[in-house]
Each structure stands twice: as structure tokens, then as C-alpha cells.
Symmetry: C2
Subunit: 322 residues, 2 copies
């Protein structure tokens, strides 16, 4: 499945672990929070708040990414993004990433360098640095990322704080990655904006801390789909959530793709994961920050409903995700 | 190579990711530093010092561990130990582990539960909790660990602070894992103490922070072998290090195994890795804490010597490590 590199392409084994680490770390700018970067037994990162927010994600070639669908840079950006989104979903400011790469010795060195370049770029977008990691040999290419962040004096926004009467709001892209997957699955490579949304998401990093500051009572990053992730908030908080479809932000591009492929943009927005948008609950409409769209309300009860009813997927709809 | 489970053994796929995470986290006691444990977008861990020390290690089945040589519990203990040792080698107090498990869907659930049990036990020994992680599907079993710790008001002890005139000291086991590998490599399963040293190391967790408090100028955990790891200190600090073999602590059990196998205990102690002992430099003999053994001195120059000479491995010695 992987694109074939030229026969004489320099491999990871040719370069060696130490030299490869040197290549992917040299000349990179660290943020002020990096007290000690790569090269010692461990990294040291400033967390002035005295509480570190930390999350780990593991991405496996063929399961979470494909090097025939994405460039190494896009894979690196996605690997960083999915984890940085978890940190901002607590309301924290991202500071550092640790990166573990396990790969076959015959992996082209350029592939790993590309993945690392993507990681650095995405980390920088979120204000973080790549502060350390590990590189080892493995039959399967596996990328492990730990993202760390600082609460900046605010309380962590968990999944369990939603209260009856709160409003539900979202920010970031809804349904773009699902639409991109549908496009790729039909063998198309455009529209590029939609396809790239699947290859590397663009989480709204600044909105997590903003929501925490605005008094969000609960928050989650949408990795499995809006309905499923709101379900986690409803379960953890012991409440019910109702979404109004007329309030769902459906981007015109999404509607175009849906129309071209015979898909359903509303369905993508409700069930598509991997965009790493943010969903949160706020104590009333006035607390919802600019840049967020109110889409529903928190009620007594349990579960998530759409327009007051259990959501059923559109008839004839093919589910692309395994 | 892996021992065959019974045909009807419950697999990871049978149990499912969410239930398996539930099984391996339920009923576990978290240390006081765990503000928010598994189950949300990210964990929150107290680092009252305002600086988090963090390290990642990736362990691959068949490369870093073998399930026909070690029990799942031993694999889990080792995975935690190698990473916790990196954190204490900075002088930090370990607080939390994040654990990523990538494994084939037909992996027995009991294997993953055993690995996780070992991780929890080893983390508890070091004062840390398992605060979060990820479980995904992969063709190869890969365990990724991030250990985090707190500096407790002390300065991080790096590899680059050794000064001419310092003394070099070690604590923990030297050569045990190498001896254990030699025993296993010859098809023996005893002595158990030596063999288990290879299966799961016992890093001297308390000695890292103690050395930092005693004013250690540099420190490293011995993962690649005493000479090689002291080489990292010498390089980073711009100094030379000389080891006196008559000062090397050689445990009687090591001498027994060496005699039985025709091995060389001194060679194991100088070059064997994976024991995760600690080596550090101190500003003079009086600064060396109890429990540490002085084995050499820091001099002007570069590189590591043994009794004033470049070390050469004993003739006829077979190198067991790939």
C-alpha cells in the first residue's frame, strides 16, 4: 500500500537512531516553556500552574493513517493534532510533546524526517515544542505521542460538569474529515480542502483555554463524532443533551461534496469523527464565547437526542468508518 | 515464539477497548499527585515545583521483550521501570505514567491485563500512578510509556554538569541483566534472581532524588552499559572519566554465574545495560550519599577509560546483545 521509495533511498537503519534524532531535532526552536529539550534522560517543561495536563495517543500505520493517502508531513501533523486537541479540551495551554517512533529498519529516513517535520509544525501552531521521545525498531510503524499542557490558573474542564439548563456549543470543523474520507473512498483526490481535513485535522487550539476562561462547565474534543462524544459528556455528567439540527453549522463546501457524492452533510456533522472540533457546555447563552456556535441544550435525563428524538442514520447511508 | 494461549482464551477484540480499559483501571489506588486519572480527554497531575520532568520509552515485542521469556507482569514492570529510571536520573520524584498499548486484536486479554498489572505495581514502587493512556489495534505488540515527575524544588541533574575533580559513583545493580541474558541464552532458567533481573530491572528509585539533594553534578541511568552511559556524561560535560576496576561492586551471585558459564562478571558490570542502575558525579568523596559506591574520577580530557586505559573486551567473550 505504501508508495515505493527509490531503491537506493536512505533507510532509517542506514542513518541510525542517534543521527536520525540529531537530524530531526537540530535547528528547531523551542518555546519558552522548554527548560530542557531532547538529549538527556528526560525533558523538563515549565508548568507554572503546578498542574500538568497530559494525554497520550498511539497511531498505527494502516489503522490510523496511510502513507499512500497522506504525506509523511500530514501524518505527523495529524499525530500531533489529535493529542494536542485532548489537552486543549481540558482548557489547558499546550507546552510540550514527547514522540515515540517504532518503525521497520528499512523505512526511508525521509519518511520519518517528514513525520517529525509535521509534528514540529503542528506543535508550534499550538504553542508547544517537541521536547523528547524515543526511536526504536518494529515490524509495524507506530507513532506514540504524549502532549502536555498547563492550566494557567484555571480549573480543568472535564466531561462531568454539565448541568441541566446549560447550553451546548461547538467550535471548529464538523463533518469535514468524514466528507474527506468519503471522497477518498470513492477514489477522488479533490476538493483538496475537504480531503486534507481527513489527512490532517485543524483543531481550534485557542478555543479550549478560551472556553475554560468563559466558564465552560464541561468540554470534549470530537474524535469519535459529535453525537458519540456528547454522549460521553451526558453519561459522565448524568444529564441528557438535545441537539437542534437547524443550529448545526454546515459549511457550504460540505454541502457541495454531499450533493456531488449523494452523501448527507448533516450526517457527517453529527457522526463524523477525526475533525477534533471542540464541544462544550456553558451556563447560559451569554457565556458562549465568540467563535462558538450554540447547537443545543442540557436537560434532565440521559443520552443524546437530535431534535428531541433518537438519531437514526439516513436510509441507504453507507458507513465509511470501520 | 509466544506461548500459545488456550484456544478459547478471551481476546482483546472479544473484550473491546472500553471494557479492557475499565478492567485495568478499576480499583487501583492513585497517589495524591493524581488530580484527574484515566477517563477524560487528558489526565491532570500535580507538579508543585512548577516544572514537569517527562520521558518516553517505546518497547516492542521481540525487540525489547519476549513473552516466552517473561510473564506479562514482568514485561509491564520492565516497561515502567526503564522509563521511571529516566525520570529519577534527573533527580525528580516520579508521579504519573501514561501507557499506550498497540496490539493485535487476537492478543489474549489476560496478556494485556498482566502487563497493566505489572505497570501499576512498578509505578506504585516508585510512588507514581498510571494516570492515562491509549489502546489501539496493531500487527505488532508495542508498549509506549511516558513517565512524569516533579523536581521538588531541586535543580534537574543533567548529563552535562560533571566537573574535573568530581568523583564518579554508582548505585543499583551492575551487570545483573547481562548475566541473566547469558543464562537465558544458554537455555537455563536459574538462578532465578539473576534471570529475573533481565526480565524486570529494579532501579534504585529513591537514590535519584537523594543524589540531587546531595549535590550531584551530573547523573544518568545505565540503560546501555556503564561505560557507554558514562561516555554520554563525559561527552556532554566535556570531561574524561576514569573507572577503577578494583572499586567496581561485583555481587557474589554475579561471580558465581560468571564462574559457572565461563563469563566475566567485570565485563558484565562494565558493559551490561538494562539494569537501570544510576551513575552520577559528585563534588568530592564527602558528597557521595550512603548507598552509593565510588568507582572513579572525573579528569580533564575526553572519553572513558578503565584503570587508565581504553577498555577492551575479554578475549573469547561472546557479545550477547544485538
Amino acid at each position: 500500500m505504501r508508495p515505493q521509495p527509490p531503491r537506493d533511498a536512505e533507510t532509517v537503519a542506514d542513518v541510525g537512531e542517534f543521527h536520525l534524532i540529531h537530524r530531526v531535532t537540530t535547528g528547531r526552536a523551542q518555546p519558552e516553556t522548554t527548560i530542557l529539550g531532547p538529549g538527556d534522560d528526560a525533558a523538563v517543561v515549565a508548568v507554572p500552574d503546578g498542574r500538568v495536563v497530559a494525554s497520550m495517543d498511539v497511531l498505527v500505520e494502516g489503522v490510523h493513517f496511510r502513507l499512500d493517502w497522506s504525506t509523511p508531513e500530514q501524518v505527523g501533523r495529524k499525530a500531533a493534532a489529535v493529542n494536542l486537541a485532548d489537552v486543549v479540551a481540558m482548557g489547558a495551554l499546550p507546552s510540550g510533546l514527547l514522540v515515540g517512533v517504532a518503525c521497520p529498519p528499512d523505512t526511508p529516513a525521509a519518511t520519518i524526517q517528514g513525520i517529525m517535520a509535521g509534528l514540529w509544525e503542528e506543535a508550534a501552531k499550538a504553542g508547544a515544542g517537541v521536547v523528547g521521545g524515543d526511536m526504536v525498531s518494529s515490524a509495524t510503524l507506530v507513532i506514540s505521542i504524549t502532549a502536555m499542557g498547563d492550566m494557567n490558573g484555571l480549573e480543568p474542564v472535564t466531561r462531568s460538569g454539565a448541568l441541566v439548563g446549560d447550553v451546548v456549543a461547538v467550535t471548529g470543523r464538523l463533518g469535514w474529515a468524514a466528507a474527506g474520507l468519503a471522497v477518498l473512498g470513492r477514489g477522488f483526490r479533490s476538493p483538496v480542502g475537504i480531503v486534507n481535513a481527513q489527512r490532517s485535522p485543524e483543531p481550534p487550539y485557542e478555543e479550549g483555554p478560551r472556553a475554560a476562561e468563559a466558564g465552560a462547565t464541561s468540554m470534549i474534543d470530537i474524535s469519535d463524532g459529535l453525537l458519540q462524544d456528547l454522549g460521553h459528556i451526558a453519561d459522565s455528567s448524568g444529564v441528557a443533551i438535545d441537539i437542534r439540527t437547524e443550529l448545526l453549522p454546515l459549511h457550504p463546501r460540505l454541502l457541495d461534496v454531499a450533493s456531488a457524492l449523494g452523501g448527507d452533510a448533516r450526517h457527517w456533522a453529527l457522526t463524523g469523527g477525526e475533525d477534533h472540533a471542540l464541544a462544550a457546555t456553558f451556563p447560559g447563552p451569554k457565556a458562549v464565547p465568540e467563535g462558538w456556535t450554540t447547537i443545543g441544550t442540557v436537560r434532565a435525563g440521559e443520552g443524546v437526542t437530535v431534535d428531541g428524538r433518537t438519531y437514526e442514520k439516513p436510509p441507504g447511508w453507507e458507513h465509511w468508518r470501520a
